[in-house]
């Protein structure tokens, strides 16, 4: 797309009661993203069109929506990657209740996080109250901590989207949050019991849809969920593992070497 062209957008307008797609056109030029077009429409034709946004650079995770049916950050969705000869549809995420237009009620996610046991570090390694960690030991956790909480993974997860099991399953975002805590080298908390029960890790059947839509390219399933599932299985379903850990724990009781 080297020259400006007029593109048609079908944007879902409405609230919790009712709504429909409305057609708008926007002048689109090189480099524009979907969010730019939405802003242009908002500025010139529909001042009250509701959408969330903040950083406009894929760092805050506010502008999540479904563009031509695909969950995306509108600020990172280049128009040049879309078929512009047809109308482009933009609609709110489907896994959460609509508030207005492109805005959904994502408050459930914030409640889920409060239920997850917080970080609880081991005593400091050094007398000045600091710890020592090797870069190699934190690479994995840093990958999970790239999450910008856009909730696109929650949106695409069929357990939440199709089966609406929000009360039994915390979704990929929070499995990754638990993974980041469980694999944190300093953390001492055990979250496996609730992972298996109230947080419903068993409902995930590894279709990897979450990984595909992650704008931060976090390997949600392979690096996060599967290892967590293995830990749950080890703890609750593997008698040999259970005995082995019992012995190992005894060995680990030696005093820590000073740093």
């Amino acid at each position: 797309m080297s020259e400006a062209q007029t593109v048609t957008f079908k944007i879902w307008r409405g609230d919790a009661n009712a709504g429909a797609f409305q057609e708008y056109t926007a002048e689109c030029s090189e480099g524009m993203v979907v969010l730019d077009a939405v802003h242009q429409i908002q500025r010139t034709q529909a001042n009250d069109l509701a959408c969330r946004w903040n950083c406009k650079a894929g760092k805050c995770g506010s502008c999540s929506a479904e563009v031509n049916g695909m969950p995306k950050l509108m600020c990172m969705a280049r128009l040049s990657d879309l078929p512009l000869e047809k109308p482009i549809t933009i609609e709110p995420m489907k896994a959460f209740p609509v508030v207005k237009d492109l805005i959904t009620d994502v408050s459930w996610n914030f409640l889920v996080k409060r239920r997850i046991k917080p970080f609880s570090p081991r005593p400091p390694d050094a007398p000045d109250g600091t710890w020592r960690m090797q870069q190699a030991d934190i690479d994995r956790v840093q990958e999970f901590r790239k999450c910008i909480e856009c909730f696109l993974c929650q949106d695409v997860c069929h357990v939440l989207r199709d089966h609406q099991m929000h009360n039994k399953f915390i979704g990929p975002r929070f499995l990754i949050h638990v993974a980041a805590l469980e694999m944190h080298p300093l953390d001492t908390e055990d979250r496996l019991e609730e992972l298996r029960n109230t947080q419903g890790i068993g409902y995930c059947n590894i279709t990897k849809c979450c990984t595909k839509v992650c704008p931060e390219n976090i390997e949600i399933t392979d690096n996060g969920i599967i290892p967590l599932k293995e830990r749950v299985v080890d703890k609750f379903y593997d008698p040999f593992g259970w005995i082995w850990r019992g012995l190992k724990r005894r060995q680990d009781r030696q005093p820590l070497k000073p740093v």
Binding site: Q42, R43, N47, K113
Partner: protein, 603 residues
Amino acid sequence: MADYETHEHDVLVIGAGGAGLRAAIEASAAGVRVGLVCKSLLGKAHTVMAEGGIAAALANVDERDNWKVHFTDTMRGGQYVNQWRMAELHAKEAPDRVRELEAWGAVFDRTEDGRILQRNFGGHKYPRLAHVGDRTGLEMIRTLQDHGVHRGIDVHMEHTVLSILKDGNRAVGAFGYERERGRFKIFRAKAIVLATGGIGRAYKITSNSWEYTGDGHSLAYEAGAELIDMEFVQFHPTGMVWPPSVMGILVTEGVRGEGGILTNNAGRRFMFDDIPDNYRSQTADSTEEGWRYCQGDKNARRPPELLTRDHIARSIVREIKEGRGSPHGGVYLDIAWIKERLPNAAEYIKRKLPSMYHQFKQLADIDITEQTMEVGPTTHYIMGGIHVDPDIQMSRVPGLFAAGECAAGINGANRLGGNSLSDLLVFGKRAGEFAARFAKDNSLGKIDNDKIDIVACEALAPFDRSGGENPYEIQGDLQELMQDKVGIVRTESEMQFALEQLKTLKESAGRAGVVGHREFNPGWHTALDLKNLLTASEAITRAALERKESRGAQFREDYPNKEERFAKVNTMISKAEDGSMQIRLEPLPEMPEYLRRIIEEMK
């Protein structure tokens, strides 16, 4: 008076970026009930955009670093009009605030021996910025958010505050609305902390999001507090310039910290052409020495690309103005060149600057490990803001505290990169601590119902003018005006013109109309934000007119040099009885002997 939903807290924090969250955590740790109001969802505040790192003299990478060096760097960067006490507290306390984040779960990049790694940044003598790749702000806000949600803080997401309520002289609450439903709410509190961030939306080219409309500046000003140093607006030297839709988005200084260089269209490293006298002894003589510095050679001095932001922004403007710019009106920032020096440069760049790699790849089709970036200055930060007591962060309005970007004093005429995140932590904590103390010593005040009715009535007026002016257009006109007339290069006549235009825009704002209803209506929100933007813009313009010299971020074409008579004063703005904006020059507090000696020793 209509019946409004009312919430009661001991301490009300307005804003949930780094400073607001840190204040809320501290106040709640002191055992008081805390309410936290924010315009966006929790964790989306602008802190998330901070890339480079948190400045703190941990001395993990260079053992010569300590608070005295950090203090001196901050004062030098701020051209010595900083509030010395804030710069001192900041330098002394930043290391503890960073270590505390680690105790709360932050995972910083590591040194070989397993400690927090620190990187080079502009104006810092030694590698000082604790960081996580180039997404340090995300790490910080997520750590504070996750720690905070387990402390019983009441969070009111997506709420905007319209007015600070007072009982006599004292701040006793806030009146605002829930963005989602458009309903008004009253927040009663014994102490209030403003942590609303900056004013970037007053400019056309900015790295700031829609939220940064000078709310705290304007709320405090209206409530009777003073604004200090408002002329000092930081234009970050490297924002994206192409494609047009991403113009202004930040390119972290970390690129230069890792060895990135600035060149013009002739391929010349123009930063070597003009090195300010007070940095000459600290700056590298050659390309070779600059590279050795970036590689950690302790005997090398830093490359000129790591001079302070005000100077680099002006140098870039000069190159562009004199016809040596890039095709899209910027200059070139080149990190790909390091492949001449490093065997696995592409991997190194992707690891140290992952989100820059991602951002350019996805938004501009540019691979920064192979190609140069086009960059130009973007409005990034305001050094000016609410004048507060340096120790307790309270404004001259009892019970009204401020921290973070909306408060001012620590940065003087120019902020060093990395000093903002540490400022948020150090003074956020202090604001929370002393606000909690104030709340314990005071009771809830009386709420003025008449005032609330007036504010509510004004806020709803745009709905009665559905054929009125488009609020987005008024905002756009204001942004053009500030960009053109009160931008990087300033002059008397243009700023006088701007003052006149601001009056016209104020009248337009009074005619702004909105369509639709009160539920999540961005047109209405934009109309309501105009007042704060206009107040902040007027304060910037008046302060910039008053300071008839060039210092730090303020560059006056008609007064291109530093002037002795402005060397020891701050501009101070307040609202007069008749409602007009008053400005005066206030002498700097006298710096104690022990600090003067430190600065002298490190010259």
